[in-house]
């Protein structure tokens, strides 16, 4: 598969000029700021990144203040401010991910092992929520296929089913009564989608391990699909022969399809998908791109498919 590189990076693409010009003041303020974010984040720790990914966008990265305070993670509450408050004591160690189903070598992977499966890359991806807002996040991790190859998918495997952690002791709000959706949260991809190098297993962001509200300790990131496909706090991955159930589709099939590719031409029944709001902007003034701007890489996965029907 041909993977095209986006244009070369200049330093000014990464560091806004105002910060560069005022770097001394920035440096002086840094220790205090670092302390503040550390307090807010609880238990994250530094992650050494080996590779800067060619997949990264050059768009300005969203402040971690937004990404860590504005979360859809219904296990910890349906209001977007709730997960950052309710998930702080979420226990993410020890952690196991079971990879099973139609494969030659099904087994469980401990978190330490996952961290060593492949060199950790930083990938700056656009992240588009079905609710018509978006963020730009420097994830840390590697292609999901690095994990899937370990278990050797069988020819019978056509889809991959994913499952989130669910524990009422740690997540007392995670009931259908409170959240309006079923638990555990489940998601799915076609096998070729899951094997695509853009599909990522993320273990960190902003240079550190994932904060609980952003899906610690390991989550999926599928940047060309709406955010709810990027399942958090993964515990189970199963290779299967037929299309697996997915949580939002179970909750409302009319509004959330299995594919859920970002597509400005297919409106959500209750709102337009043409435009998005790049947080923390006040305006919904950012045009949404087909496949969230990753069409060059992923459009070929869907040749011949009616994307209006397969929304």
């Amino acid at each position: 598969m041909l993977i095209r590189k986006s244009g070369d990076l200049r330093h000014s693409d990464i560091t806004p000029k105002s910060i560069y010009v005022n770097r001394r003041r920035f440096l002086a303020a840094a220790p205090a700021a670092l302390l503040a974010t550390r307090l807010a984040r609880g238990t994250t720790s530094k992650l050494a990144v080996a590779v800067k990914s060619p997949f990264s966008t050059t768009e300005p990265v969203t402040s971690p203040n937004v990404v860590e305070r504005y979360n859809n993670f219904y296990e910890f509450g349906t209001d977007k401010g709730e997960p950052s408050r309710n998930a702080q004591n979420f226990k993410t160690s020890p952690w196991m991910v079971s990879v099973e189903g139609e494969c030659a070598k099904p087994r469980k992977f401990g978190m330490e092992e996952i961290l060593k499966l492949a060199p950790l890359e930083e990938r700056i991806y656009r992240h588009r929520c079905v609710e018509a807002w978006s963020i730009v996040v420097p994830w840390i991790g590697f292609s999901l296929n690095a994990l899937l190859k370990q278990v050797e998918p069988a020819p019978k495997a056509k889809f991959v089913a994913f499952q989130s952690y669910w524990d009422l002791k740690q997540m007392p709000l995670a009931t259908p009564m409170r959240a309006g959706i079923e638990f555990p949260y489940v998601e799915g991809l076609r096998l070729d989608e899951a094997m695509h190098p853009l599909a990522m297993l993320a273990v960190g962001m902003y240079g550190e391990t994932l904060p609980p509200q952003d899906g610690a300790p390991v989550r999926l990131v599928v940047p060309w699909k709406y955010g709810f496909k990027s399942i958090k706090s993964l515990v189970k991955i199963k290779l299967v022969g037929s299309m697996p159930p997915t949580t939002w589709n179970l909750s409302n099939a009319h509004e959330y399809g299995f594919y859920s590719n970002v597509n400005p031409q297919v409106d959500h029944p209750r709102w337009s998908q043409k435009m998005e709001q790049r947080l923390p902007s006040l305006f919904r003034n950012h045009p949404t791109q087909m496949f969230n701007g990753y069409g060059e890489q992923v459009a070929s996965l869907y040749t011949g498919m009616d994307l209006k029907k397969n929304y």
Partner: protein, 212 residues
């Protein structure tokens, strides 16, 4: 106490306070990670709260010693309209950038926006005719009939809220219970009135027959 001149002023300040608070946060750029959503939710919440408050006045004033509540009904209704207009403006400007072709499509195509728009539109004639002069011009009976449009607004607001949430329906459900409860009370009163006058007439006839 309800009759004091000050209570009206206090209510006015209380109803303005959320707006003041929001304006302050806007000015301080302290509207959180999603400022548009904050504006939308904040103005929407106060609109529906004030609609419920307005609808609550008539049933509550039938309770002993609360009849003077009627003095506040107009102000509550006007504030509901005020926050509703803010809510709509936020949508028009920040969400849709005044793109009117998109807005017309939205209002026509999406039930929750249709409901919200209709509920707000129904409040406009009520706000316009809220003065004493208009009560006189229309005559009490007709004025009252027109102002029953607020029942429609209440129902439309609940539908708007129900249809816009993704899955957690606890709050819209609460407002549905409040609005339908307040409307049911009215149905109860209307039934009693009719029944009472009917039994009056019956009693009259019986006593007349007895005296003949």
């Amino acid at each position: 106490m309800l009759r004091s001149r000050w209570t009206k002023l206090i209510l006015f300040l209380a109803c303005s306070a959320p707006f003041g608070f929001l304006a302050w946060r806007f000015y301080q750029q302290d509207l959180g990670p999603n400022p548009l959503e904050t504006l939308q939710h904040f103005t929407g919440d106060w609109t529906i709260r004030l609609i419920v408050a307005t609808l609550a006045v008539t049933p509550l004033r039938k309770l002993p010693r609360l009849s003077d509540l009627i003095r506040f009904r107009r102000m509550l209704g006007l504030f509901a309209f005020f926050y509703g207009c803010l809510h709509f403006l936020v949508y028009l400007y920040f969400d849709k950038l005044f793109d009117f072709t998109e807005i017309v499509k939205d209002v026509g195509k999406r039930p929750f926006i249709t409901a919200g728009f209709a509920g707000l539109a129904a409040m406009a004639p009520l706000a316009l005719t809220s003065t004493k002069g208009w009560v006189r011009r229309l005559g009490g009976k007709r004025w009252q009939r027109l102002h029953r449009l607020i029942y429609f607004t209440g129902i439309a607001a609940v539908a708007h809220y129900f249809w816009l949430v993704k899955s957690d329906i606890r709050l819209p459900f609460l407002y549905a219970v409040l609005v339908f409860g307040l409307l049911l009370v009215r149905v109860g009163y209307a039934y009693n009135r009719k029944h009472a006058s009917h039994s009056h007439r019956l009693a009259d006839r019986v006593s007349r027959a007895a005296s003949e």
